[in-house]
Symmetry: C2
Subunit: 382 residues, 2 copies
């Protein structure tokens, strides 16, 4: 197999894509509890890739955190940057973040992406949509549909993952911008799941529509910094995970209007070991359905819906930054009944996890020379 | 603090208890996620202690697997063996196993205990009840109320934990006696949760009463070898855990008439690595609510119902033999949302876990010179 790759630069956006042959890295094999795994590098040379979306033709859109959007083909060819991406605040955890296709992509070519937007006061998470012109490698009709208010200084806790609800509304996870003291304030955008219409409007059935002192775009709150989100394949409910401080990363199933606790209740400690908040449980606050202590620093997630590995069907895969691994959470009847830790020997920060149309799992590694990895499982014989 | 202990012998049952002073072992302190723990040795010199029950006066009944039942007082005094225990098959995993008080103990002094009973064909799990005469250190009116049929040779997989349901019926966990090929056969007693009346009669509402080819004492089945059982403090449902072969120890909430899979579906492998069965999921078979892979070899369990450590209230504590530790499973709304591993440095096989009337956890270590340990948690400051 021959792979092709081009490392683009931000200033070469209009240069036609050129591909250079590159030797294929050997696939690595791993044994896991329920499957034999083959891991291949699909593409490399990506600078801190963050979000991944599959195009109908099998190619991928990949964001690079410094502010570039690229098209990666199945054989590893990496395009020049797509033009038209708004200016991003590329500092700390900020930059160009998630990307997904619109539900009407086949007709409209629309994509949706999140980013740290610079502006008065500092930066905040924003979400835009645009039409993708693949021939010209350009975004057209870019519209900002959501802006986290107010902006603030510093480069921490932007979120942000994007998931369409089956009703056509859009979920956006936003972090607390490292402002713990404002994380329960519903007059501003901190530590929330946001739900908006694809044009930025407010769905009438959002939980706080018409409620004094609560922003109408808020779906749920008390989420410190969620960098993973996906729809459960059966229930069609949103699942997210979120980073804790020191200990207590959570998986939650955010329901309308509910409070997931941060920083009033949580399962961790402050960095360095101090206690804060009011414990782990309190009336009026929701419990997670799973938590990690110590923190693994989760990022990216997807459900495995293929039936190629029956033992995996319905399982949740989560990337881990600090713990440098891929986690399989065995999900049965809405419960997480087991955790398996995979690819620890690969020793990469896993930023994103998405099942591809081929039933493989695609991973992004968070590194200056980041990669797209393809993990293909084969079931064990029974 | 001064502790007293007497190591009795099986032939000295009628000798009056004598206590000898013994220096108190120092308490050890441990930090855990949500509590600071103090661990003390209450009593030692017990030969493979297996089951533990608290008497109304604060003393404990402790079984020793070779066939002795002893009374242990709060200061570590260990009585001579209680007389009247039936002959047990004390080989391999067999012997005198669990002990609990009857729900009517205050009036009747009844206790219930399980053991491997020798007999035609080998041995099988049996359950007896008796009146406990503490003054004479004797069992009176011993009645066998359950016998696993048929008996078979070998010393593996007897179960057996005893739990009274709030309706006054008795749950008994029995293992498959290492007869995997008969573990789904409902015309014999293998790999089941049994439910009987305290006198051994069959409750009329058992799921297979009147069902051809299914024994009426069976509550649920497909449980390989359950050595832990407790009632959930809120739902009052039975929870159990069970040993797998290699990988896949399970926690289940056995419901009437349901099939928990062994050996048709399971999450492990055969010893040495071969596959058997039909995978991890199948219609008509229940999923566990949690599983361990690799196997920890769980034994003993209890829910923590005290409010002294609010973060622990409702949590499930499980002993581990092979992994030599105590597991805390954080239980919220009927889900296990986190596992914490405790006392790994203590490096003991933990056979039994029971919350005492003082809100401490009492543990039995499985060793020729086994101990009763008291684990007292103090909440962290918030």
């Amino acid at each position: 197999m021959i792979r092709f790759m081009l490392v683009g630069t931000a200033t070469a956006a209009l240069v036609a894509a050129v591909t250079l042959p590159q030797p294929a890295p050997a696939a690595q094999s791993f044994e896991s509890e329920q499957a034999t795994l083959e891991l291949e590098t699909v593409a490399d040379g990506l600078e801190h890739p963050w979000g991944l979306a599959f195009l109908p033709d099998g190619r991928m859109l990949v964001t690079e955190r410094p502010g570039r959007l690229r098209v990666v083909d199945r054989d590893g060819g990496v395009s020049e940057p797509v033009s038209g991406v708004p200016e991003v605040y590329a500092s700390g955890q900020g930059g160009l973040l998630d990307v997904i296709l619109g539900p009407d992509h086949a007709e409209t070519k629309r994509i949706y992406f999140s980013y740290a937007e610079p502006g008065e006061g500092g930066a905040g998470t924003a979400v835009a949509r645009a039409r993708l012109d693949l021939d010209a490698l350009a975004l057209r009709d870019v519209e900002v549909i959501f802006r986290q208010q107010p902006k603030t200084r510093g480069g921490r806790h932007f979120g942000s993952r994007l998931v369409f609800k089956p009703d056509g509304t859009l979920f956006i996870t936003i972090g607390d911008r490292a402002e713990r003291e404002r994380a329960q304030n519903l007059t501003i955008n901190r530590a929330q799941v946001i739900r908006i219409r694809p044009d930025g409007g407010i769905p009438r059935d959002n939980p706080f529509v018409g409620v004094e002192g609560r922003l109408p775009e808020v779906w749920s709150y008390g989420h410190r910094n969620a960098q993973g989100a996906a729809l459960h394949p059966d229930s069609q409910k949103l699942w997210i995970h979120e980073h804790a401080a020191q200990g207590g990363d959570e998986v939650n199933i955010p329901e309308a209007g509910k409070n997931y606790g941060w920083p009033t209740i949580h399962y961790g400690e402050d960095y360095g070991g101090g206690q804060f908040g009011e414990g782990t449980k309190k009336a009026g606050f929701e419990q997670p359905i799973y938590y990690w202590d110590p923190s693994i620093a989760p990022s990216g997630m997807d459900f495995y819906t293929s039936d190629k590995v029956p033992a995996w069907t319905g399982d949740l895969f989560v990337g881990a930054l600090a713990f440098r691994m891929l986690v399989r959470l065995d999900v049965e009847q809405g419960r997480i009944i087991h955790e398996e830790r995979l690819l620890e020997d690969v020793d990469e920060r896993i930023r994103a996890v998405d099942q591809g149309p081929d039933g493989s799992l695609y991973l992004l590694t968070d590194a200056p020379d980041g990669r797209v990895l393809r993990l293909t499982p084969a079931p064990k014989e029974w």
